[in-house]
Structure formats: C-alpha cells, structure tokens
C-alpha cells in the first residue's frame, strides 16, 4: 500500500484538518468528526449528509452555500456513529428543521435514523431521504434495496438550493425525493480500492479484468469482465440506465464521476463517449459535471449518473453554489 499517509488511525482526522486549513470558512468539530459551516442560517432548512469517509470530496467538500450545512465523517467506509450524527443535528439546528440525506446502506440508515430519533426527543424537527441510484444490482422486494452512490451529489445540490430559497422541510424533502426518483447511476472499476487499515486491495482483478457495476466501497457489481473500450463501456452503461429509466425525449444532467485513481483526462475522454450515447438515446444534455465527486478511496474507474430534469430541477441545479468541491 503506497499512500500519502502518516498512520491509518489518524487518517480521517488529518484529512479533515487539511480540508479546514484550505477552507477556513468551515468548522471542524474534531471530537465528532463533523465538518460544518461556520455560520448556520437558522431561517433555512439545515441539510446534513455524511457516511463513511473515503468518498472525498463527498461529503465534507459539499458543505457551503447552496448545498450542505454539515457533513458527518465516519472512518473509512464505516458509517459515523449515532452520537456523531446527533451532534451534527444539534450543532446545525434551524427553526425550519433538518433534512438528513442518507445513502442507502444499512450502517448509515441505522446510525442516522437512531440519531434522528434522539434529536426528535429534543424537539428538533428531523426528516430524512435515502438515495438509492445505483442500478448495478437489481432491486428486489426481499433485499434492502439499491445502493446510494454519485447521484447523492445531485440530491445535495438540488435540496441545498431549495433550502436556500427558504422552502419548508416538507418541500425540501419532496424535491429531494423527486431528484432521487429521477437519478440513476452505474460504475465500473479498473482497480480495487485499498482501505488504509487493511492495507491490501479489497478485491483482486487480473491485469486485463475489470469489475462492471462496482459499488463505491469496492463491493461487487454485475460482472467481472475483460477490460472494455471507453466507447463500449459508455454504450452499455447508458443503455442500462435507459432501460431502468427511459431518457428518450428528456432533458438530463450528466455526471461523469471518477473513483479517485482515474485521472481527469480519462474522465473527459469518457464524457465524450457517454454524451454521444446519451444523445443517441434521444435525450438532450442540459448540464454536465466531470470530475471526482463520489470516490472510492484510490480506485481507478468511473461512474455515469443521469438525472432527468424538469423546469424546477433545472432552476435548482443552476442556483448559486459555493462549496470546496462544487461552485458555479
């Protein structure tokens, strides 16, 4: 394992401190690993997200005007604890209530929900939405549902803009859920990620193999297969998204999200392939984001996220945003 690191134990704290040093407009509550805005506007709905670390810039990089009020940072790939989330809720309390944006993983759901229950006992108005945009694995009635991945960033952006407009908690929740209903993602990995504490790759890939449909924690996806060309990957991914949520005739926002180990040059190249496929399906691209937004430590690979837009979502997507990792 070659990383820029001191010790695995101090990794998350040092990373958060480094973020704060570069962004003095943010605060870091070290004991609970909460990154929050210095000034909390108590006249708008507070938005909190978070989860395991290892997805940087998600989520702390999205704290700022027009997105989140706080991000709760767990250890690498491990949900933050109930007490951490509870602290974030109390430290960003607003007169308009708090919305938790949770990626749909068991650990996150349990810790965030239990924390919300505690906060409700304190008479804080807390509600939650669950992002589940990853189409890699078929949903079924018997399972816990789909994973939440890069589509979460669009939920942050749109809910953030709605909150900034002064909408009520119910309204912000409604538009967050509308976003969740209209966003789909799928990703692939060329290499495994390496969790610092473990020190070796989470999964093994042959020199000519890739994992198609991988999750953002190195979880397996649809299939192990030979490395495919960018154009072929784009065709398969866009087709599968289109099968799950037809995009013909729609206006869409697209995110080409790198997993951490793939350079921007490859992401831009991939956007060239993906955007052509999306237009082939009869959709119109309204906005495109290319970069590392929801990573998987140092995994090489990328995901494609498509969000179907209406005029409300377009306006909220375009609204002012100023965070470390997303500005307009």
């Amino acid at each position: 394992m070659k990383k820029i690191i001191n010790t695995p134990e101090t990794f998350v704290i040092e990373m958060c401190k480094g973020l704060i040093k570069a962004h003095p407009e943010l605060d870091f509550i070290e004991k609970f690993k909460v990154v929050k805005k210095k000034e909390i506007n108590t006249n708008k709905v507070s938005l909190i997200s978070g989860g395991g670390s290892g997805h940087e810039p998600a989520h702390a990089g999205f704290v700022g005007k027009g997105m989140l009020d706080a991000a709760v940072c767990g250890d690498i790939f491990a949900s933050p604890s109930i007490k951490q989330v509870y602290t974030a809720i109390t430290k960003t309390e607003s007169k308009k209530g708090t919305l938790l944006i949770i990626k749909n993983y068991s650990g996150d759901c349990m810790n965030f929900n239990e924390a919300a229950a505690l906060a409700r006992e304190d008479d804080i108005d807390v509600d939650a939405v669950y992002v589940n945009d990853d189409i890699a694995v078929k949903d079924s009635l018997y399972t816990v549902g789909r994973r939440g991945v890069a589509g979460t960033v669009f939920v942050h952006k749109i809910a953030g803009a709605a909150a900034e407009e002064g909408r009520s908690l119910a309204e912000v929740k409604a538009v967050a859920n509308k976003t969740i209903q209209n966003v789909r993602s799928i990703g692939f990995a060329l290499t495994s990620c390496t969790v610092p504490a473990k020190g070796t790759p989470t999964f093994e890939l042959g020199a000519d193999e890739m994992e198609y449909g991988v999750g953002i924690h190195g979880e397996p996806g649809r299939q192990r297969m030979p490395v495919a060309k960018a154009d072929d990957l784009a065709a398969a991914m866009v087709s599968q998204i289109d099968e799950d949520m037809s995009i013909a005739g729609a206006e869409v926002a697209v995110m080409i999200n790198g997993f951490g180990g793939s350079p921007l040059q490859e992401l831009y190249l991939f956007n060239n392939s993906v955007s052509a496929e999306i237009e082939n399906k009869g959709a119109k691209i309204y906005k495109t984001l290319v970069g590392n937004f929801m990573t998987s430590i140092d995994m090489a690979g990328a995901s494609v996220t498509v969000l179907k837009l209406d005029s409300e979502l377009k306006a909220l997507l375009d609204a002012e945003v100023n965070t470390p990792a997303l500005k307009n």
Partner: protein, 216 residues
C-alpha cells in the same frame, strides 16, 4: 463452573475484546467478498476503546456492566456494527438486570434478548429486523441462543451448553455461504454474495469458539 458472576462476565467480555482485536484483519477480509472490507476494523475499534476505557466501566453487577459496555460499543464501533452490537449489549444488559450471578437459563435469556434488540434496531430503519436466512450475524446468533435455551430446558451443564452454542454459531455461519444476502450492506449486491459466508456471522462463530476455549 455452573454460574457466571459479574467478575466472570468481565473476563468473558475481555476475552471477546481480545479475540476481536486479534482478528481485525481476517474479519476485514471476510467483509471484502461482498461487503466493504471494514467489519474487522469497525468492530475492533469499539472493543479497543472498551479496553481503553475499561477502568471507567460499571462493575456493580452484570446488567450495569453490560450496559456500560453497550455505550462504548455503540459510540465507537463503526458502520452497521455500532448500532447492531450496541443494541445487542443494551438489550442483553436489560435482560440480565442488576444481578451479580446468572445461570444457564439466564444466559439463554440474555442471548435471546440480544437477538430481539438487534431485530428492533433493524425494524426501526428497514421496517423489519433480520431473521435467519437473511445472511447476517443473526444466522449465527439465533442458533447459538436457541441452543442455550434448549440446553437450559434440558438441564445441561453450563460449560458444555456454551460449547454446543458455539458450535451452533459456527454451523449457522457456515450455512450463510450458500445463500444470497437480503439484509446488510451485502444485501445490495444480490447473488454476488453467494459462496462467501457473512462476515458478522462468521465472526460470531470465531468469537464464541474462542470464548468457550478460554473457559475450558
């Protein structure tokens, strides 16, 4: 040995912590197949903290001791393990009550209460708690608890009952290899979890086996 005193319980939990810390890396590897590779780390983190805060725990009685453990575990175990193991210890503490000694029947009840505690936590978040066959640690914990209950009903000896329970946990963990996960993080990867045991269930088998070995 026919009773478990408060002192015995602290020794058992201390052994448990040692086993968990020893197995940090192998438990992570178990979680790599269909999960995110952090189970060992998440669990060990809480139990390392438990050992660190050991002197501040409450040693008044078994219930108080388990409850003080539950607070540390819930706070310091990462991921799903925090709420799951935290609520298991919390429910166990409540079931134990403020007693300084328990027998096999009470141990069985405590374990059954831990099962219910975990399931209630699941229910609050997912509408239902995990049951046997969902490929979670419940697949090891339930057979172990049931084995203890059966042994208690049959009037068996404590240590041999615990040995049987550990074997039941191992067998339960083994059976998770054959099925696809329906709950937990692995519940999002579908059939790709088949062929690998659930990390939490397998871990429980290892932990229970280690504890009974230390007592024998």
């Amino acid at each position: 040995m026919n009773k478990i005193t408060t002192k015995d319980m602290t020794v058992i939990i201390n052994t448990m912590a040692d086993i968990i810390i020893e197995n940090e890396v192998p438990f992570c590897e178990l979680d790599s197949a269909a999960g995110d590779g952090d189970f060992g780390m998440s669990l060990a983190k809480g139990f390392k903290q438990l050992k660190k805060e050991w002197d501040e725990l409450d040693f008044d009685d078994i219930g108080a001791f388990l409850k003080s453990c539950s607070m540390v575990i819930m706070e310091h175990c990462g991921g799903a393990s925090g709420p799951i193991w935290g609520s298991a210890f919390r429910a166990a503490a409540k079931a134990a009550g403020n007693v300084e000694e328990i027998g096999l029947a009470e141990l069985a009840e405590i374990m059954q209460a831990a099962v219910v505690g975990i399931q209630k936590t699941g229910e609050r978040s997912f509408g239902r708690g995990a049951v046997v066959g969902d490929k979670t640690l419940i697949d090891a914990l339930v057979p172990a608890a049931d084995s203890l209950s059966a042994s208690a009903d049959a009037g068996e000896e404590l240590l041999s009952a615990m040995q049987k329970a550990a074997a039941a946990a191992v067998a339960g963990a083994e059976s998770t290899k054959l099925i696809a996960a329906k709950m937990g993080r692995a519940g999002t990867v579908g059939d790709r979890s088949i062929g690998y045991p659930d990390a939490g269930a397998f871990g429980l088998g290892v932990i229970f086996t280690g504890i009974v070995n230390s007592l024998s």
